[in-house]
């Protein structure tokens, strides 16, 4: 979880990222940053997201949910 927050802070270039954040609450989280985030998560956890999952991963909670499902 700490790791996930760190990745998101770094990729989204937003230090305010926390467990309650979402695309609406983060100024920087636009479509390009979203793509970069997906690429970084895929590489870091060695997983691959389906397009449907990429579309729904728009908050910390959702990101965590999908990543955990994929990793386990």
């Amino acid at each position: 979880m700490k790791k996930l927050i760190n990745i998101m802070r770094e990729v989204l270039e937003d230090e305010t990222i926390d467990t309650s954040c979402s695309q609406d609450s983060s100024e920087n989280w636009d479509s390009l940053h979203h793509l970069n985030l997906m690429l970084e998560l895929e590489e870091e956890f060695n997983i691959e997201f389906e397009p449907e999952e990429i579309a729904e991963m728009k908050s910390f909670e959702k990101v965590k949910e999908v990543v955990e499902r994929k990793v386990h």
Partner: protein, 531 residues
């Protein structure tokens, strides 16, 4: 350094967002006031019919229009076209490949005549990857990235290096060691006939390397020697070894003695009247290389493996890094001027004399329709994803749009296509009734895929005409500034609206428009309005 990139696809993952601005997809209508431009077009991935080669030929026409408009002292870096993915229907139909080659050779030709143009051979990057690695269809369909975004890190590393090459002043002089560098073995021990040059391996590798260096010297690179040897022995080897390619007359100067190489190299620079920073030192001995790196950091000292079969990759690296000619010389400047005059003449006779003609040739269709169950999610997506052509950047979810419909808002979208393909739903407008006769434009959005073709005006005019037909007399509109939508700051001014006032220190501008007369669109747009 800030760059402006002309592109026809999503490439933000590769060039990033720092000090870089992007054109719309295929858009050349906006040319900002910067000195560094990049042209990065690649083929669309999902169009294989005969129009494709025609589309490719428009790239060069567009490029010429751009070249006419960028400043005299600007730089335009053009990436070559490469085949990333192509489906060939007919075994003997190579028209796509010849269109690509045609574009690339015209671009190389431009670079030789116009000092502002530099060409980057994009295959230097792409050839390291398989077809499966170059395109990632998952990301293509999510974000229109033609080039696999997973290659972004590799690309950035390559491009950073490439930029250094482009910025480098070409080096002028090669300083070469002799033993185990220009030939195999040690002259002092093996003798004139014992050193390895010519014949079988490894002599053939050294011959090949000397031959290549000789070719390089014909392009103006000065060859010199700095070697710990007896000068008389070397002069004799140059004279009498029959396999020697590089001989006395090929070297502008040499220091063959037992002094330290730092002193020797400094002397060479003085004698030839060139700066140390225009010299490249090649030596097989790592301690000599380290000495020069420490003592003369302005001299370039590339690695040298010492394996004779690595000499050719070493040679290629030398040329790529230090000796490639990117900029035309003073002598070529006159030619460049003649060429500019020529291209201007050509453009006036060519297919597109101007933007108007170009747009006309596209045969654009704009299909406008109200929100419905099939397009609602796309409209929501446009509000969420579009940053540049977004007048108020109000972002909505599908449920918001549903609610607005129930409250009596008029929401339209438009599907845009031209003879090269269908861009899908790429415009939307939100109209909120204020009274029986008055309506306000809550937002107006155009995807960057369709920028630069006047579609925004057609879409707005047609919508306004429809309002007029429905007894609306008066329209209000607003622009809200964000970090990314400055290109539409004066959109309503250009559309003929009356500026009323600004709020929040100019961050919000309010406009009005009276629907007195029917608005006209240029007749070459094919507009359908499906009420």
């Amino acid at each position: 350094m800030s760059y402006f990139i002309f592109r026809n696809q999503t490439i933000e993952p590769f060039f990033g967002n720092k000090d870089v601005a992007y054109s719309g997809y295929g858009d050349i209508s906006i040319i900002p006031d910067v000195d560094n431009f990049i042209w990065f077009y690649q083929l669309p991935l999902s169009n294989f019919d005969k129009h494709l080669s025609e589309e490719i030929s428009t790239y060069f026409d567009k490029l010429q229009i751009v070249l006419q408009q960028i400043p005299k002292n600007a730089q335009l870096v053009i990436f070559t076209l490469e085949t990333l993915f192509h489906v060939q229907f007919v075994g003997y139909d190579f028209s796509i490949y010849s269109a690509i080659n045609d574009f690339n050779s015209k671009v190389f030709d431009l670079a030789s005549k116009d000092s502002r143009v530099k060409v980057v051979d994009f295959s230097e990057f792409t050839r390291h990857y398989t077809a499966d690695e170059l395109v990632n269809w998952r990301f293509y369909f999510i974000s229109q990235t033609v080039l696999n975004p997973k290659l972004a890190k590799d690309f950035k590393a390559w491009w950073t290096h490439k930029q250094d090459e482009l910025a480098y002043n070409r080096k002028k002089c090669l300083v070469l060691d002799l033993d185990n560098t220009l030939w195999g073995g040690i002259l002092g021990e093996d003798g004139i006939s014992g050193i390895k040059i010519g014949g079988d391996y490894p002599g053939n590798a050294f011959s090949c390397w000397q031959q290549s260096l000789l070719s390089l010297s014909r392009y103006g690179v000065i060859l010199t020697v700095c070697s710990k040897n007896n000068e008389a022995d070397v002069l004799e080897a140059w004279e009498n070894n029959p396999f020697m390619v590089l001989r006395k007359q090929h070297f502008s100067s040499w220091r063959i003695n037992w002094n330290d190489k730092v002193t020797n190299i400094k002397e060479l620079a003085e004698e030839l009247n060139i700066g140390l920073d225009s010299m490249v030192f090649v030596d097989d001995n790592p301690s000599e290389r380290e000495l020069i790196r420490q003592a003369l950091p302005m001299v370039e000292v590339p690695e040298f493996s010492g394996k004779p079969y690595d000499l050719m990759p070493t040679f290629k690296d030398l040329v790529d890094k230090y000796f490639r000619i990117y900029t035309v010389t003073e002598d070529d400047k006159k030619k460049a001027d003649q060429y500019r005059a020529y291209t201007q003449r050509r453009a006036s006779q060519a297919t597109f004399a101007n933007m108007d003609e170009y747009i006309k040739s596209l045969e654009i269709c704009v299909n406008i329709m109200p929100v419905n169950d099939f397009n609602r999610s796309r409209i929501a997506q446009l509000t969420q994803k579009t940053n540049q052509f977004n007048l108020t950047t109000r972002r909505y979810a599908e449920v918001d749009i549903h609610r607005m419909e129930k409250q009596g808002w008029f929401i339209f979208c438009a599907n845009v296509s031209d003879r090269f393909g269908d861009d899908g739903i790429t415009c939307t407008i939100f109209l909120k009734p204020e009274s029986e006769y008055c309506i306000s434009i809550y937002n107006l959005i155009l995807s960057c895929r369709v920028l630069g073709k006047g579609i925004e005006t057609v879409f707005l005019n047609t919508t306004l005409n429809w309002l007029r037909d429905n007894n609306i007399k008066h329209v209000k509109a607003e622009y809200i500034m964000t970090a990314k939508n400055s290109q539409v700051a004066d959109f309503y001014d250009r559309a003929g609206f009356t500026f009323i006032k600004s709020e929040n220190n100019g961050e919000k501008r309010l406009y009005e428009f009276n629907l007195d007369n029917e608005l006209e669109n240029k007749n070459y747009y094919n507009v359908n309005f499906n009420k």
